[in-house]
Symmetry: C2
Subunit: 421 residues, 2 copies
């Protein structure tokens, strides 16, 4: 029988004792932020557990990593510390362990109803990198922008393409997204356009959180790269397709992306995901030795995108995809990122790129779903080419275990109008 917690966890919960994802929260508005793990409908306050002396393993005893307003110090400590924390917390929360279960005072202090807390960014993000690792997304975008002849760039199968993203505008799930203004491409002999984006889009992504970094000038071996990844979360890389299409030659996306990127509050650890590991796609051509892994892993994570159109009560599912649709693995992304000596730091965010699958209902953005606005979607009778003001987009992600889920919760954001200039 599966491990059980003394805390009631509903069968469809994303957060059983097998998961224990990490976040940072404020128990009430204005109180200091502190780390927690999700368990059922509760958040376990790790600062209280640390103050009670219950992180008593050899690495974490006396550490202040759970007294910080972000997870960066824990991230820097590496996998042995993470494994110790997980073992400690799984034991503490289990139905057979009395230390917390039978201590009413500590339960009162450390278990907070999830509905009452305010989640904040769990990490201080030094650099944010976004990859482009779904072949289906690369093929569809190439076809839309450059036509059906060789839609996938020649380099794509040789290296995990990526660009540097904007770290300052990464926000936590639930933050409104202001529709960006910008220039769009001229049509014919007209001048370029200017105004609120007319092609505002979501991008269904996940992102890896970097643990220990590497020194500038040194590389990370692809077979050791997993030790540099703490966990994974959901990410919406909001995109203004009209701004992006006009600005991106020759230096890539800039203002079309930098107005906001939403991440989910809970980081699911690689240890929690391990039961859901699956083979990564076979790669042809065979990658260079620095990208060739002894074991090449993906994870079977079901992903879903819902849109609640402005003024409506109900959401529509517009996409069902899966993390395993990625061609390049997280570990290959880390190895590639550092092959030139670039240093990663704890808390860096590595986006996967839009996770589109092969089926028409598994495409990870409106650009693909509506084929750049040519085929509007019908949402409870409302028609959408791109997002309108008031639309709310929610991602969920979940691994289905034997009698339990390991889930990611939600990553959500609502579009609000551009302010007047």
């Amino acid at each position: 029988m599966a491990l059980q917690s003394f805390i009631e966890v509903k069968p469809d919960s994303h957060f059983p004792i097998q998961n224990l994802p990490y976040g940072v929260f404020m128990p009430e508005p204005g109180s200091p932020a502190r780390p927690g793990v999700a368990i059922g409908d509760y958040v376990l306050d790790l600062s209280e557990i640390a103050k009670a002396g219950l992180f008593n393993g050899p690495i974490l005893t006396g550490s202040d990593c759970f007294l910080k307003p972000n997870l960066n110090k824990l991230l820097a400590m590496g996998r042995p510390a993470w494994k110790e924390a997980r073992a400690t917390l799984q034991k503490l929360l289990s139905s057979t362990e009395a230390a917390l279960r039978d201590n009413a005072s500590l339960r009162q202090k450390s278990l907070v109803s999830m509905g009452k807390v305010e989640m904040v960014l769990p990490i201080a993000i030094g650099d944010y990198t976004d990859f482009f690792s779904s072949m289906h997304h690369a093929k569809n975008c190439g076809t839309i922008f450059r036509g059906p002849q060789n839609p996938i760039p020649a380099n794509w199968f040789h290296l995990p393409i990526a660009y540097h993203g904007r770290a300052s505008s990464i926000v936590i799930s639930g933050t409104d997204i202001v529709r960006p203004r910008g220039q769009g491409a001229p049509s014919g002999n007209s001048p370029p356009t200017f105004g609120p984006s007319q092609k505002l889009d979501f991008e269904l992504e996940m992102a890896a959180i970097v643990g220990p970094g590497n020194e500038l000038g040194k590389t990370v071996d692809v077979n050791e790269a997993a030790d540099h990844i703490f966990g994974v979360l959901l990410m919406n890389d909001w995109s203004a397709r009209d701004i992006q299409a006009w600005e991106y030659v020759p230096l890539g996306p800039f203002l079309g992306k930098s107005f906001g990127t939403t991440i989910s509050p809970w980081i699911v650890t690689l240890d929690a995901l391990e039961p859901f590991a699956c083979d990564a796609p076979k790669q042809d051509p065979h990658p260079f030795p620095y990208l060739a892994e002894k074991i090449s892993k993906n994870y079977d994570i079901s992903l879903e995108v819902q849109i609640k159109p402005a003024g409506q009560q109900d959401s529509c599912v517009v996409t069902r995809s899966n993390f395993k649709n990625l061609y390049w693995t997280l570990t290959q992304q880390v190895a590639h990122h550092t092959i030139n000596g670039c240093n990663l730091r704890p808390g860096d965010l590595l986006g996967t790129g839009t996770i589109s699958g092969p089926e028409p209902d598994s495409l990870g953005c409106l650009l693909e779903l509506t084929w750049n606005g040519q085929k509007p979607l019908s949402l409870n009778g409302a028609s959408r080419k791109f997002l309108e003001d008031g639309d709310e987009v929610t991602f969920t992600g979940c691994c289905k275990g034997n009698g339990y889920n390991v889930g990611f919760g939600m990553c959500s954001g609502k579009i609000v109008p551009s302010p007047s200039l």
Copy 2:
């Protein structure tokens, strides 16, 4: 007669009392870093001046901004604080003021020989953005990579193109640069190449340091953008042209740039640069209103690049350019960066892009100077298409005033070999 300091400043010094650029230094190895200004051959330790109570204006009295290991707090305080600090320091260092001049104990504590200190990064850099604002550079790169037909992309004259750079690998002048490894483009039917970059290049840039930022979702008006810029420094955006050429389609530069970016230690304030302001180039087509400035300013800053080839004692000047060669101004860059609501934060770094002039000896990188390796340079008899291991590249920048300079010092780095894998 020009303002003079009681500290001797040689006529060719970059650091007279008219300049007073800000940096962060360690008086001896391992001692805590603290802010300073350069004056002649000395660094004035601002933590000692603050502790002595000599920042006694209405804004800075009691502030701990000079007791920090970086300038970010001072940057966030904005122009009124910067003006007060400058007035205080110019008075304190002037030949007619006794407070420091006649206080041997305070002089002993606060004035450190520049030759003895170790300069460190002056700011904690949240995000680094690199623009592409020299028309000559854009034209030359376009011609080299895409041919002489329409070498400048259609968007270039409508907006200051930029990309997000890597913040983690920004290093202070004097730090060795490890030659990056990476993939290069296939030729014919061969597979792509892999190994240490064969086309390692410098890029002559300057960068603006952001002061007060803007809230996410809000824009900065172009006519108020100067209040968001603290000052300017020299920057070498090292580039591996072979890696860049293969990876950059369609998302822009990534590993071809992220292995290292060198900045000079001293930030010259806009106030110190004001006497060297000059008209920016006339822009045709006329820019959109959000980019149209009442006063459009450049600065007359002479720039020089020297290379000391491996194994030689002497450096060769390879380029003489000028900041005023930029088409898009710093203030237009800030306005464009925020027009979509992207938030800037104190300490963000905005690179200008390579500053090439119109003449053959004013080109800002080897890609242009050697026309992608087709026309090697002769350096004291050594021939160079691109940089070799052991080559040292040094930038200097200086404004020539009436009887004094306002200079930037040096931005320098030496290439060291790729380590074995």
